[in-house]
Symmetry: C2
Subunit: 191 residues, 2 copies
DNA sequence: TGGGTCATGTAACCTGTTACATGATTAG
DNA sequence: CTAATCATGTAACAGGTTACATGACCCA
């Protein structure tokens, strides 16, 4: 996965491992993260596969750097990947796994829990930071219409977060009903 | 992740590796999958950790089986996990990665693409199969109110799918606009 | 003088996927 | 007779995470 993300970025222009890391941190972080350790490892294997080429650049006042460029094979691989295996899988969410087993905890605790995540920002800033980054990169590349796709992914984040909040609302409502039922039962028994 | 899913299932009652596999396949598959290869491996390490205990049961007419039970330590670990690290991370989606770089393909192809996934069922059956499974398991355990949480995860799947379709709609609209702009430019140039 | 930026990586580990392998019983 | 169900796993690989490690320059 990360391999193709890197390929896509190098397709916009040559970059060092460090620069790739900053792009992930600043503008792709709402759907993917990447540690430098993994980036440098992937760059090595991609170079061996012939998808990218490396060139050493000496610098003064700064450490030397290794700049990577996409090759013709790399560009072909990028297109192949974009067109292949296209139907999205269903959600794979550790968070839902927890929800599934939450019955082990008291209802009261679970209501508080869903209120907390409803109020917490899953997609911070409503995507403003990501949008700003997208606009910055848009100016830097030749073909500005590519930013349309970047903004679509940001919109996804926004819509996802809205849905998440609504779902929390549903959970809270259901659980308050359950709590009510439990209280009624206790009353009935005591009569 | 899978470890705790298994722990949660064993907490409802003893099971073999095979039974755990069927539960994942029939009712947790909308947010998690599990291969038998991984299940048997995890069972081994969980047993070593003392979270579960194993007991060999001889059968006639069927292969013998190894039945696993949750231990006190396992139950403690389950509760610890449920309460720990509770804020959900943002989406981590290979599919969004592809969308991000889709600018490499022609607009026309991308419009067709989003139409395809809009019309494909991401969450098949609107969750009816999962709901049926939940109701079946509900009857099998002592504490039926746990099914409330199971149904909440199914509801998540439903809401997620609805959102996904809406987002595809947004993508299609944006890209049709982009296509219009491109056609206009071609016309202007030819005048 | 202390923290941020630029710049590079290695090693170990954890988790999930793919491919392979076996074999009896039972229902259609 | 054939497919599904019950039942168990191993081996190799792929991809992501955590921890560790180094070092110069620049700004406050």
């Amino acid at each position: 996965m990360l391999k193709h993300g890197i390929l896509g970025l190098l397709n916009y222009g040559d970059k060092t491992g460090y620069e790739i890391m900053t792009v992930f941190r600043d503008s792709l972080n709402h759907f993917w993260t990447a540690q430098t350790s993994q980036i440098y490892r992937e760059l090595q294997t991609m170079e061996k596969a012939g998808w990218i080429s490396e060139r050493h650049v000496e610098q003064t006042g700064k450490p030397d750097k290794n700049v990577f460029s996409i090759t013709a094979e790399g560009r072909a691989e990028l297109l192949r990947w974009l067109r292949a295996d296209n139907l999205p899988r269903s959600v794979r969410d550790p968070f839902l796994m927890k929800t599934f087993f939450r019955g082990e905890l008291p209802v009261e605790e679970n209501i508080a829990y869903f209120k907390t995540i409803r109020d917490a920002a899953v997609f911070p800033d409503d995507g403003k930071q990501a949008t700003a980054a997208a606009e910055m990169y848009q100016a830097a590349i030749q073909n500005p219409e590519k930013a349309v796709y970047w903004k679509l992914t940001i919109e996804f984040g926004r819509m996802f977060e809205r849905m998440y909040r609504q779902w929390c609302q549903v959970c809270i409502r259901e659980l308050e009903e359950l709590r009510q039922k439990q209280t009624d039962e206790v009353k009935e028994r005591s009569i």
